[in-house]
Subunit: 319 residues, 2 copies
């Protein structure tokens, strides 16, 4: 295990010496930040410590079953821990007051900015929850159903059901320990991977109706005009799922989703496989991102934006 | 481990004493029957034995990477093994000649008919590949990339990426051993879970365009008329994915897919959650199946069939 700063064992020792612990999640919270914070919360409570979770945004209803306790001033925080937070800017406005006083950070982002007094970060892990499990075990806390549900939610959501490449043999060992401890694994799988809300379904329908193939079917493009987004009442999180869709079509190397933001502004989401570089395509229109997922904002009309991005895609596919 | 007949250890001993081994898969082969047969094939070859795989149907192209060797008379079979085959009727016509002479069956179906001379079956396992892994290990064969790719394909496809309820801590231990041995886990995940063919995408579009909700949105219905199926050139396997879709919508207890078979014949697929019984709904129209997945064939028009199944659904939801 490569830890930048301190090991899981040292993080555990620090936590054992602390009390009145505030656990910070990143804004727009996902399964890994909430599950990691929750797993740590239940473990610390088992040790008799005061502990609660703090997040910039309301915790989405689908995480209700985890039983997370939100901080509402029930104690005066003595020790601040950030989990799955790569950069203090990701804490959000409401938590900005803590940014310069974070005692411990437990994370798995290679881009972690090392903002905390002590940083326990393993950038090779697919989920922060896998590292939190190590910390909980190093504290000598016996796993139970609550801890297991939280950490399994983090593990499963951040690995895409163990599908993503960062998943390792150790990730499956962690999963087996959490199942052994009573994680409601099929309930969690069902909640996060086997159901879609009606807004997502409605957006998928509109997206599929606009689906077009280009460049010998190596590029698939879908459009989400403002009127559709408004009619559906879509949230940004509903759109994220759509952006992943065109690239999943067999034979497609570049998937493009064009979402209208306002009268003349458009957000272009680019997803590629190993045969094209999303970051380079986005850079051609002033955007950026990662090799396989990038984006840019372009002014114009749906047609002009589509033509502009298709020119960049053509260049990329000819490289 | 509950084995009906013999244990994995005993199956291994029998295989160690055999040679010129023919491995039979079930017809319409899936990832588990092919992966299990392939894992066993590579393990037996490592022991210097003659061994090949036999299946009623051509092995779909997407399994090419496994490197399965198909039987073409290269030896005279001395020992016949069926893997993931619950009943000899599932062997298909071309393999019927072997039905009464199967020496060993390795399976995970509780419904196994015990047709073989020796039966190694654990009905609690989510995949036959998990049992084959035990057999391979009991034979003392060191896992390698080929064996691992085959068994991981079986494990992943039959557990729906570790989502289905039969997945246990032991399943994840098996997965970790296969990753350790070099299984191309993200390649396999990508091939089987992160891509859809264009026919499936086209069917999804048509299905979503016909999507209707009934009974306070507790029932979702989609229609696949013959003209659409013909225009898309859809295979039965393309349609199976669609049948699962309506039930995945949040709040939907009963998902119905009505597929036109001919001028006046319709196949109704019923998928339910724990709030309704698919088998009971299907039985009302002369069909049947399981608690959560059932079907029936109904004569009439798309409208009359829809009305008939909706009456059954209404009754079921009022229970």
């Amino acid at each position: 295990m490569i830890n930048n700063g301190i090991t899981a064992q040292q993080a555990a020792e620090n936590l054992l010496n602390a009390d009145n612990i505030l656990l910070l999640c990143h804004k727009n919270p996902d399964g890994d930040t909430l599950g990691s914070a929750g797993g740590l919360m239940f473990a610390l409570k088992k040790l008799g410590k005061m502990c609660a979770i703090c997040c910039n945004d309301a915790i989405p209803q689908k995480y209700d079953f985890l039983g997370l306790e939100v901080f509402d001033g029930q104690f005066i925080p003595d020790y601040i821990v950030a989990v799955d937070v790569a950069d203090t800017r990701l804490l959000g406005d409401k938590l900005a007051e803590y940014a310069d006083n974070i005692d411990l950070c437990i994370d798995h982002h290679p881009s972690n900015t090392e903002y905390a007094k002590m940083v326990c970060c393993d950038g090779a892990l697919p989920a922060a929850a896998q590292l939190v499990l190590q910390v909980v075990q190093a504290m000598g806390v016996e796993l139970d159903e609550n801890i297991a549900n939280c950490l399994y939610t983090g593990l499963m959501t951040d690995t895409g059901c163990f599908k993503y490449s960062a998943t390792t043999a150790a990730t499956h060992i962690a999963a087996s320990q959490l199942l052994e401890a009573g994680a409601w694994h099929d309930f969690i799988a069902n909640r996060f991977f086997m159901s879609k809300n009606r807004k997502t379904i409605a957006l998928e329908k509109h997206a599929l109706n606009t689906l077009e193939y280009y460049f010998e079917d190596r590029c698939a493009v879908v459009e989400l005009p403002l009127e559709v987004l408004r009619a559906v009442g879509a949230q940004p999180s509903d759109v994220e799922g759509i952006a992943a869709m065109p690239r999943t079509i067999e034979g497609v190397d570049v998937g493009i989703t064009i979402r209208q933001l306002s009268e003349s502004a458009y957000k272009v989401s680019i997803r590629t496989n190993e045969k094209a570089n999303a970051n380079e395509i986005a850079a051609g229109l002033g955007g950026g991102g990662h090799t396989k997922a990038a984006g840019c904002e372009v002014m114009g009309s749906m047609e002009s934006v589509k033509n502009a991005i298709l020119r960049e895609v053509e260049t990329a596919l000819c490289r």
